[in-house]
Amino acid sequence: MPDSQITLLTRDGARIEVPCASGDTVLDAAAGAGYHLPAMCHQGTCGLCHARVTSGSYEMSGYTESLLPGRDLGDVLLCRCTPEGNVTVQLPCREDQIPRHQIPLRDAVVERIEMVWERAVCLSLRLQPHDELGVAADFAPGQYMELAIPGTGIRRAYSLANLPNWDGLIEFLIRIQPGGQFSAWLTGQARVGDTLTVRGPAGRFVLDEASPRPRCFVGGGCGLAPILSMLRHLAEFQDSQPVHLIFGANQEAELLPESEIAALRAGLPQLTLTLAVMNPGPAWNGFVGTAAAALDASLAPGVTEPDIYVCGPPKMLLAVEEVAARHGLAGRVIAERL
């Protein structure tokens, strides 16, 4: 239950209602509802998020007072304004100017279906022109989209494995689940040229690019898709921060193909790679155990503490979070559940 309601009025007369939890600022509450109002310093100092509360009571604290000569008239800085009950806020902008996080629905046509490795299919789609979005494939590496099986309304979410581009190309790495409906469609009926609806991008599993720390990616199976997108992005931007990829598999056959490893290394020369296999054959001389165990081993004392990105099944996430907590890195885990 929201604790109060905020009514945002735009300069062109639109009314936007957003719920506000107790203690949240107007800026946070609006962002929580998908409205990203302009803001720069987030500390009551720059004045960019100024607006006027026209009704309701609120608390303003920790800001530069000279920024608000009209304080008595209800002028506020939204990053420091905490509603005490319902409030109405007059914004100094038009509705169409407010960056809005909407999850768009679009058509896409199948371009390629290819078995890339053990039980993993690469599905490439091309987005069709959209009134507001054109043909751009605009997403943040790490995000996912929902794909609907044509004619059924059944939707499944898959992470994007490629990079944002202007050609409208989106790529997914899909694990074939025996008995899965999407898997059945993909391996049975799907044909190049089929059209399906896709909804996205969505998701908060994205890179913290401003972080100065090394990055450690932990994934297994198709949990690699969003991580691949992130790694490709870092390669494209010639990022030189240390990167460690820990890829976990049950058997050697489920590991990433050599060609994929070579491509990653070409773009990210600083990449270190740990392949962790649970039940290897006799010839295996790499790490034996889970991806979480490999992470544990890599976090030796003296190593610069990394940000940890993990994508995989719930069990793996739990194990990784537990390892991170043991190393005092609980706040550094950025996770996506498969």
Binding site: H36, P38, A39, M40, C41, Q43, T45, C46, G47, L48, H50, T64, S66, L67, L68, P69, G70, D75, C93, R94, D96, Q97, I98, P99, R100, H101, H130, D131, E132, L133, G134, V135, A136, D138, F139, A140, P164, W166, D167, G168, L207, E209, A210, P212, P214, H233, F237, D239, S240, Q241, T304
Partner: protein, 550 residues
């Protein structure tokens, strides 16, 4: 981190300065510290360069690198930590080269210490502890706030000089005395100066140098694109694919126009690129469609609503919102982590993005504003202007120039323009004008009352107009019925202010707040020597200006 270089710096009871883990502008601690370290290295390059220049030699690439690197550290230019790791490595290589050239040219010369001898590590992790050596806060603790503040004044003025000189250089203009002047100032800072008079003198010398730099930039702009002329600029969109170019760099705008020739894509200017429409060789491109949006601090709203790619060619960049992060590009000295950078002037990818994005669906009813009153245009009607003053039709000139910013207190400038009496002429430059340039200010003596001189980069034009007026009236600039109302935000404005002081211009109204790096003692000196005044209210300041003139 400690940074107090701009107007919006954090101000607390303990004094001014962004000193937490993030500045008001969004610059993080790591980036801020790396920027300080880079400047420290540039001082080291300056130590050798200035000696090389004295021997009649120069390393043109080092001089050019110095300008560019200084520019990256201006407010709202480059937030990309990784970029600074690379620049620090490049600075070390450059220093080695200049040192070797100097030692070759002056055999037996002593090896220099201080910044000149500094050896940076290579990775971000190793560099972080090294940045302490360059910390500004440490300087203040040792030499006192007055000295630290004056050193900051010199450094920030120098950054402004470098930014203007870089803009001129990309259009092919350099001057040996500029490179030598910049090297000299860096060498001066490397010597840890603590004499107040020497510091003030250096600041004024930079102001003088900057006058030459702005003259050079003016020649670069007009030489490349023709003389600005009065032009009506469309401020409403036209249906079709669209690119928005922001910042100050005319050459980058030209590059975008070339890359989109004949493609049907319309190019719009944003913020400080508005004056581009008045240059004959730029407005000759039929697809330079209009001006979109307003000043920099509104970019998050304006860029989010813009239906095409955006190119940021110089300051001022604010954290790109997710809504447009993939379709904003940086160029030149600008950078943000995870935002595509175009370092080679090839804007093909921007054109490709414009084709993929929807563009404007509809043409809005046409609205225009009149710009293009550079010095040639204004001086072309000098007789009319002088006549209008002599006959009493025009009582006073206000130059309301400088930067805009987010603080609501900047409404002062809107008020000022609105409340200035009808028998006054308003001249403006910089992006501060967006606070009043969409209003109709009427005409006077056959001239528009609001004359838009151009970018902050066109301050030279404004100074030339003032000098020409003082010629025509046979009086000093300070005796003209002219008041300068300067709104500052970043370091280019500091350079322009130093230029005004160096030229002996007095009684500048400076706002919206005074620089945090100037201590009360230093401010007193500036008030005594140059009559610098803080703003009060628009009404009172207009009144004071008119009384002084009368």
């Amino acid at each position: 981190m400690f940074c107090y270089q701009c107007e919006q710096t954090m101000r607390t009871d303990a004094g001014g300065g962004c000193a937490s883990d993030k500045g008001v502008c969004g610059k993080d601690e790591v980036t801020a510290d790396l920027q300080d370290l880079l400047i420290y290295q540039l001082e080291g390059i300056g130590q050798y360069s200035t000696r090389l220049h004295a021997l009649g030699e120069a390393d043109a690439a080092a001089d050019s690198f110095t300008l560019y690197a200084l520019f990256t550290t201006l407010t709202n230019v480059n937030f990309n930590r990784q970029r600074f790791v690379d620049l620090i490595a490049e600075a070390a290589r450059t220093r080695d080269r200049v040192r070797d050239a100097y030692l070759a040219a002056a055999p037996g010369a002593e090896k220099l210490g201080g910044p000149a001898a500094f050896q940076p590590f290579q990775t971000l992790v190793e560099l972080q502890p090294q940045t302490k050596i360059a910390s500004l806060a440490a300087g203040a603790a040792t030499f006192g706030e007055d000295v630290a503040g004056l050193r900051a004044l010199v450094l920030y003025g120098l950054k402004g000089v470098a930014a203007y000189a870089h803009h001129a250089e990309v259009l092919g203009r350099t001057r040996p005395e500029v490179a030598a002047g910049v090297a000299h100032a860096l060498d001066f800072l490397a010597s840890e100066p603590s004499d107040i008079n020497a510091l003030l003198e250096e600041a004024l010398a930079l102001g003088k140098l900057n006058f030459g730099v702005m003259e050079m930039l003016d020649a670069a702009n007009t030489g490349s694109f023709g003389t600005p002329e009065p032009t009506n600029v469309r401020t409403t969109p036209i249906a079709g694919k669209a690119i928005l170019v922001s910042g100050h760099d005319l050459r980058d705008l030209h590059g975008v126009l070339e890359a989109t020739k004949g493609t049907g894509i319309n190019v719009y200017t944003h913020g400080e690129l508005l004056p581009a429409h008045s240059y004959p060789k730029l407005k000759a491109y039929p697809h330079l469609a209009g001006n979109y949006g307003s000043a920099w601090q509104n970019q998050q709203l304006e860029f989010a609503a813009f239906p095409g790619p955006i190119v940021m060619t110089s300051n001022c960049l604010i954290e790109p919102q997710p809504a447009y992060r993939n379709r904003i590009f940086t160029a030149g000295p600008v950078g943000w982590p995870g935002v595509r950078h175009i370092g080679d002037g090839n804007f093909a990818m921007v054109a490709q993005a414009a084709k993929a994005l929807p563009g404007f669906a509809e043409t809005a009813p046409e609205k225009t504003i009149l710009i293009g009153f550079g010095r040639d245009t204004v001086l072309g009607v000098a007789d009319t202007v002088v006549g209008a003053v002599k006959s009493g039709v025009v009582k006073h000139f206000f130059l309301i120039g400088g930067c805009d910013g987010a603080a609501p207190g900047r409404n002062y400038y809107t008020d000022f323009a609105e409340k200035a009496p009808q028998d006054t002429i308003l001249m403006t430059l910089g992006c501060g004008k967006f606070r009043f340039n969409m209003q109709d200010h009427g005409t006077i003596g056959g001239l528009p009352r609001l004359l838009d001189i151009g970018q902050c980069n066109d301050s030279y034009s404004a100074i030339r107009i003032a000098l020409a007026l003082s010629d025509a009236f046979q009086c000093g600039v300070n005796d003209l019925p002219l008041t300068l109302v300067v709104s500052w935000f970043e370091q280019k404005a500091v350079a322009v202010l130093l230029t005004l002081l160096a030229l002996g211009v007095r009684n500048v109204r400076l706002g919206p707040t005074l620089p945090a790096f100037l201590t009360p003692a230093v401010l007193n000196v500036l008030v005594d020597k140059f009559g610098i005044q803080p703003i009060t209210t628009a009404e009172a300041d207009i009144e004071a200006a008119l009384t002084r003139a009368a």
